[in-house]
Symmetry: C2
Subunit: 132 residues, 2 copies
Amino acid sequence: MSDISREAVDRMTRLIGDPEKAECKVNRLRSLTIELDEAELESEAEIFRALADPCRLKILSLLREGELCACEIMVGVDRPQSSTSHHLSILRDAGLIKERKDGRWSRYRLAEGAVIEILNLVKILKDASVEG
Amino acid sequence: MSDISREAVDRMTRLIGDPEKAECKVNRLRSLTIELDEAELESEAEIFRALADPCRLKILSLLREGELCACEIMVGVDRPQSSTSHHLSILRDAGLIKERKDGRWSRYRLAEGAVIEILNLVKILKDASVEG
DNA sequence: CATCTATATCCATCTATTTCGATATATAAG
DNA sequence: CTTATATATCGAAATAGATGGATATAGATG
């Protein structure tokens, strides 16, 4: 049992009163997160990390137009070539965009699936939290 | 006109041939991102940054149970108090959770709206990209 | 007012990420 | 084989983020 766990039971006992119920509550709270797969959480976090950059959001927005090559994207986002390439690799590794090699060009497009829906939902969430 | 812009027109000219059409294409690509509001992109990125951490994803998962105080959340995620508090403030500032002061307790709950839907969509996206 | 306790903030350290020039790789073409 | 060009990768500096112990704040209670 970790130090935090020991402290946890103390805290819960103070909060609830009955030490037995307290330990029960600690166990219930713990079980909620212990069920979660760490690797799965990490790969979900990776997707959000990929989305957590204004330049990469710009790239995704550009790709709503359809497939573009790296060089066109570089123009669209107005960044140096190496930066653009780096951002593209992060989006690709996270599974948000797909790459297709075509001669000396790398052509990128949005991954099938939920990418656009996520972007739309975040817009909704943001607007709601600005109002509230 | 920035260095990148100048280089951009050169690149597009090589890509397309006709310099006039090239400049036109550069302008069209640029217009797609210039329309985007930098501040808006930044606040969307902030939401994604807040989601981009396994511990914070755990917290959101815990809060699907309903309102919890900081001390219960600390137990659930098994982290020191200062870390937990820090993560909570990031989620709060991003508008993903709401805080309610109740005596010496701070009680947190999921913000109304799209939080859960976003988490669900990311799960779908992740599963799709694992298959593909 | 003194004490207890839940939470927030401070601070220093560590680690991860961004940035972009320079360089490498790879494809096309002469 | 040489040159040109699209893209990726490297490397080093700058910035941002996480972590957790120590301390401050603030409400509750005696």
